[in-house]
């Protein structure tokens, strides 16, 4: 267990287990994410990557095991403590998950309006700044329904950044985007990472994205992390399962078993 005087911004996951309807999705998963590090978790669709993210931010409770954020156990927190913790987090969802009843500006402003004593003008400035970061100045008044997929994702990213979080979680940041937009999002994530040194965890099955945004890449398979290393290390990895995934081949140990 991590003790509480460790680096601020560190995530430690210990022996995490979770089943859905008798199907064991996470089977004793261990993972440590250092402060300021950008970790990418790769794995096949449906292998439990999103479930892992949801455990980190306390949206799901594990059957057993622990998640420590700066030494504090997320899995035993009550609603109030979780809400307090979540103010330090930003999360970007696969489908952006913008609130359709609010405009783009209101979406980004919502966490600020709820959690900060900022005046309306300060909030508007902050919203403008965050939308500027993702290259979308001036669309505050638009409704989420009128945006393209890539724009929605970028607004989702701006919303996640609104509270200047210490941690960001990305759920499939590039899925469903055209390759050029995907690359632009990767660049954006990378530059935010370098500028603000946020601890970030991204889950994806897009290898290009993984190589680009990860300081480290971890592979999730059969409910466990089976490999962890830098992008260069994983390219040279000789583990047959990892090789099959990163080269994207239909035959190999993952599909034959």
């Amino acid at each position: 267990m991590q003790d509480s005087n460790g680096d601020s911004g560190m995530i430690v996951i210990e022996r995490l287990e979770k089943s859905f309807n008798g199907q064991r999705v996470l089977r004793g998963l261990d993972l440590t994410i250092q402060a300021g590090e950008s970790l990418v978790v790769i794995g096949r669709s449906g292998c439990g990557k999103s479930v892992l993210l949801k455990h980190i931010i306390g949206l799901m409770r594990p059957d057993s095991g622990h998640v420590y954020i700066d030494g504090k156990d997320v899995t035993v927190m009550n609603e109030t403590e979780l809400n307090e913790l979540r103010k330090r987090f930003g999360m970007v969802f696969q489908g952006a998950a913008l609130f359709d009843s609010l405009t783009v500006g209101e979406n980004v402003a919502l966490p600020l309006r709820e959690h900060t004593p900022l005046s309306e003008n300060e909030i508007l400035d902050r919203v403008k700044e965050k939308l500027g970061l993702v290259g979308l100045e001036g669309i505050e008044g638009a409704g989420p329904a009128s945006l393209s997929g890539g724009m929605k994702k970028r607004v989702g990213l701006a919303r996640a950044m609104a509270m200047d979080p210490e941690f960001i979680l990305y759920d499939e940041p590039t899925t469903g985007l055209d390759p050029i937009m995907a690359d632009a999002i990767n660049d954006l994530i990378r530059s935010l990472q370098e500028k603000l040194s946020i601890t970030s965890v991204a889950v994806t099955h897009d290898m290009r994205s993984a190589y680009k945004i990860g300081d480290k890449i971890a592979m999730l398979h059969d409910g466990k992390i089976i490999y962890e290393g830098t992008p260069d290390e994983i390219r040279k990895c000789e583990d047959a399962t990892v090789c099959q995934f990163i080269t994207g081949s239909a035959s190999g140990p993952m599909t034959n078993s």
Binding site: L59, N83, F89, Q94, A97, F99
Partner: protein
């Protein structure tokens, strides 16, 4: 083979019954969690007002039509049953009583359950399956506080308000029918209406509708929040919310009627 079939049937039935009881318990726990989140709702006052407006605007056209025709039918049916046994001057009394105690609150509740209950479940269900509810939680906002409580308060306030409209309109519908097609003069109808009128009847009806409002909002929110599996799941949630509220409204109507008119007002 046959015994096996029976066994499977029994197992299925048992599972459904246990599932039903489980669901009832979950709805009740959800209801309690809304109650716990109510203190401090005025900080979200604008959300409550927004929901109240939406509910009123959504349900009023339906309630107008339903009430006018219900009143009309009530007049025709009462007149038919009176025939030669009961003088027509009691028509107004019967209409007045049945509308404010029963027809107004219950029919309004059923119509609003179909309109507002469905739209709550569909909206929240869509938010659930597109991860907007999760997103709300990750921002550190409680979906119960931010989404359920405003709808709950709005339902509780607006259903009695809409019911008052419905009471007036139903009586107006009955009056119109009585005057134009049953040859009951305006004076006679109004006299009858006043004859056995008790304010406590109106009050009792409105208390019932307040509870119905709670039922509609709670069921809509519960099934919306528990939707899963895309568009189909949202559809299922919506159906469950409407069917569930309608059943609960009718059962609760009996319980509340017994409590109000046989215990509280009778004493």
């Amino acid at each position: 083979m046959n015994a096996n079939h029976t066994l499977v049937g029994a197992e299925d039935l048992g599972r459904r019954i246990v599932g039903g009881i489980e669901e009832t318990g979950k709805v009740f726990l959800f209801f309690l969690s809304i109650l716990r989140a109510i203190p401090g709702f005025w900080k979200k006052g604008h959300l409550v007002v927004e929901q109240m407006m939406a509910m009123g605007i959504e349900s009023l056209p339906l309630v107008v039509v339903t009430s006018l025709f219900t009143g009309g039918v009530a007049a025709v049916q009462a007149a038919y049953q009176f025939q030669d046994y009961v003088p027509m001057r009691y028509l107004g009394s019967v209409i007045g009583k049945s509308v404010v105690i029963e027809l107004g609150p219950v029919l309004t509740a059923l119509v609003v359950a179909g309109r507002v209950g469905a739209s709550i479940a569909a909206e929240l269900g869509t938010m659930k399956v597109t991860e907007q509810i999760d997103a709300l939680e990750t921002i550190g906002i409680s979906p119960i506080r931010y989404l359920a409580v405003p709808r709950f308060m709005a339902g509780m306030i607006m259903l009695p308000v809409v019911t008052i409209f419905s009471d007036f309109l139903a009586i107006a519908g009955a009056y119109t029918v009585a005057y134009f097609s049953l040859d009951v003069s305006a004076n006679v109808f109004m006299e009858g209406l006043r004859l056995f009128f008790h304010l406590r009847d109106v009050f009792g009806g409105l208390v019932k509708s307040l509870f119905f409002g709670v039922v509609i909002a709670t069921m809509g929110c519960y099934f919306g929040f528990s939707a899963q599996g895309g568009a189909e799941g949202v559809g299922r949630a919506t159906t469950k919310a409407v069917v569930g509220s309608c059943l609960l409204i009718l059962v609760l109507d009996y319980l509340l009627a017994s409590l109000l008119f046989r215990v509280i007002f009778a004493g």
